[in-house]
Symmetry: none
Subunit: 230 residues, 4 copies
DNA sequence: TATGAATGAGGCTTCATTCAT
DNA sequence: AATGAATGAAGCCTCATTCAT
């Protein structure tokens, strides 16, 4: 299977580099697997140094083969980069927000569900790395940039709005702020995403940021009561 | 915007002698002025291509002098980059939020004032470029990264909280969401900042994003009435 | 002379593909062999122009490969230079004066043997080149300078003194000038060595310099009779 | 006066660089003096690093003026170098061996006089530096190389032979080794000169090298008695 | 497919020289 | 004469890519 399970946070493709295992096999592997290994390696290298400063040799060594070997699977550095972004975007899409269960009836329950979905999709190391690469190499990958905008951001914002309308339509007016500007529902996640892109995955502006996000949504959706503790 | 603007776009292709034109003078300039010109040029080049892919020669030409000439002012490409970030951070700090006038009494007036200050400071081309460089070259400039966190982000969040407490203390409870998690007040700006870093300065998730931001603050501060349309 | 000779003078100007000729092969070689070829080339180039004025490109071309290829074998120009000196010093040491045969019994026979050993070791093109490089780049290679002093000069002077003491101990007093100042036995060779370093290998202050040196030793060792003419 | 006194060992042009005085004057000087200052500076810089590695800027600063200023006095780096060598050779020639006094009658007295003259002329820092430059930059200065051979070496050897013939003609046979190969009389000096060129001025192969040299000459000139102590 | 030496274009940096001041 | 910023030609070194093995 090329892709990690879509529902958890463990989608991170960073396999142990010099781990306790045996590392990437040194010898002939099925092409699919080799390519995947190379992309894994490339992700880490590009993430650490950016496109221009990453050497094919670095990728090759981390992928467990030689420079020439990489060229048996990809035509150029550029091609590796593109393939990498495509795969990463596919991973994020994988998480296309499903239907919340019927138990998510109340405002708070729905808000929590939404926040959890957003965090799972966008606040994991792979997403942070992807964002960094997109920001850094914007000119190089207009296609991926567009996909990020449409499928990662806009689609999710619309989905959130649709859910609210669908589940809480009666309670919140049609002119609710979140319905008029759904992107606001994503802002705290984007804020944290940016934070992690700058200061490293794991860093957060505030340890209670998930609860804060939930509370924000609740208040904007008209639920006046104080939140349950995190 | 109260920041100096990069002087010109004129990319003198190669005039043998002194150019009487409008581009940066090809002739001897006071070091201060030359350095500034070089940094202006570097800002644009680095912003367009990133650190590694930018050639000193590009910077030089755009700055109106020759490759070698740059080295009379900076020791290395790295040094240019560092100086650039320092200057850019100084510009943003320049905008340290002042005291709002006494007319900013009501919730909405204060919210508008806050949003305007944040937008002025963070949603201008220079800030967007700075952010892109910081994200792309994180490892290279840990110092600047720290400054960005402390002085651009945290300090502003605290300032917002202090203002709210000071001006609206009676009205909003001490446990108001924005007082407990001031970074939330900045999230929409950060969202737009990230948006612009990815999709280009000028692009916004929603043309009414300023009004939306104001409204968000108002609602969180307990002002129930609907806003005037943008 | 029992030292390896620089392989060839062929300065392949630029054959697009593998050259079947006689120059150093343009194609993949065992690293040992390539390195050796590069050092051969470097020796000639450095000798002709000195360290600073020699271009890596010159060395590469003379070595039959491209500029970049050199860097697969040496880390830097400096490293080539160091390796070169080390190899050259090893060559000179190679010639560590062996035991003269039993036929070298008389004063003159021993003097001739000594002079021949010294000339063979120190008055060959490789030694002259080495000396020039050491003089010119003294600061750059303190290690090699020390080796030259210890192993090329001092050790040989001591060896000469030991031989004299051993073979002619009865005849020459213990206070013989050469036993008190063995370096004097090397002076004529050093003189010629310097001469060649300045005026080119092959040039000598006097065509009968070998005979003169022998005679000098004989006289200092107390052999009164005049030598046979050259 | 441009040249130091010709009879002593104090001909060394190394004036204090950052000495207790005022250093080279920063402002307008008579051209002669300025040129001389520049050559002084150049001598030290070239000696330390060789021709190619010495920057005009180094010379300028040590000479107490700016880069551009140097070009007011010399056309090029090459010209400085040539002028430098010419001046240095003139200094050595200055010492053209004069007539020894009448007190120098005996073999030993004459030998001592000869050795002292040779040492004074050739074993001083300026001569060592000159030699290093000549060895290192042989190709660059064929003219100076020739002068060194003719006027520093050959002429002195002939002068020594002439003196011996003149003063000790009766005592030593016409076929004396030193008369047939006068260069041998200079060998110990050349040896030490080379030693200093390699290991630094001041270093000697043997602290009694002057006495040893005298003794060598005495023995070759047929004086059998042991020398007086140094 | 895999290896890694070899290629060669390209970028950073240095520095002799020029020239406006 | 002097200054020092500016020029521009090199030179060192890197690294994407090729290719013989």
């Amino acid at each position: 299977m090329e892709k990690p399970e879509p529902t958890t946070d463990a989608r991170v493709p960073f396999r142990a580099v010099a781990g306790g295992g045996d590392g990437p096999s040194r010898r002939r592997l099925p092409p699919q697997e080799r390519s995947s290994q190379i992309l894994d390696a490339a992700l880490q290298e590009f993430a650490a140094r950016g496109f221009a400063a990453t050497r094919i040799d670095d990728i090759a060594r981390r992928g467990g083969l030689s420079k020439g070997g990489v060229y048996a699977h990809f035509d150029s550095k550029e091609a590796i980069f593109q393939a990498l972004l495509e795969r990463a975007l596919r991973w994020i899409d994988w998480d296309e927000m499903p239907q919340p269960g019927p138990s998510r009836a109340g405002t708070r329950a729905l808000a929590e569900w939404i926040v959890d979905r957003l965090h799972a999709a966008l606040l994991n190391p792979a997403a942070v790395v992807l964002l960094r690469l997109l920001v850094a190499e914007r000119e190089r990958v207009p296609r991926s940039i567009d996909q990020w905008r449409d499928r990662v951001t806009r689609m999710r914002a619309q989905r959130v709005a649709a859910l609210i309308r669908e589940r809480l339509g009666a309670q919140v007016g049609i002119d609710n702020l979140l319905l008029r500007h759904p992107w606001l529902a994503l802002s705290p996640v984007m804020h944290v995403l940016l934070w992690q892109a700058l200061f490293g995955p794991g860093s957060v502006p505030d340890s209670g940021f998930r609860a804060a996000h939930v509370e924000l949504l609740c208040q904007l959706l008209g639920e006046g009561s104080a939140p349950a503790p995190v």
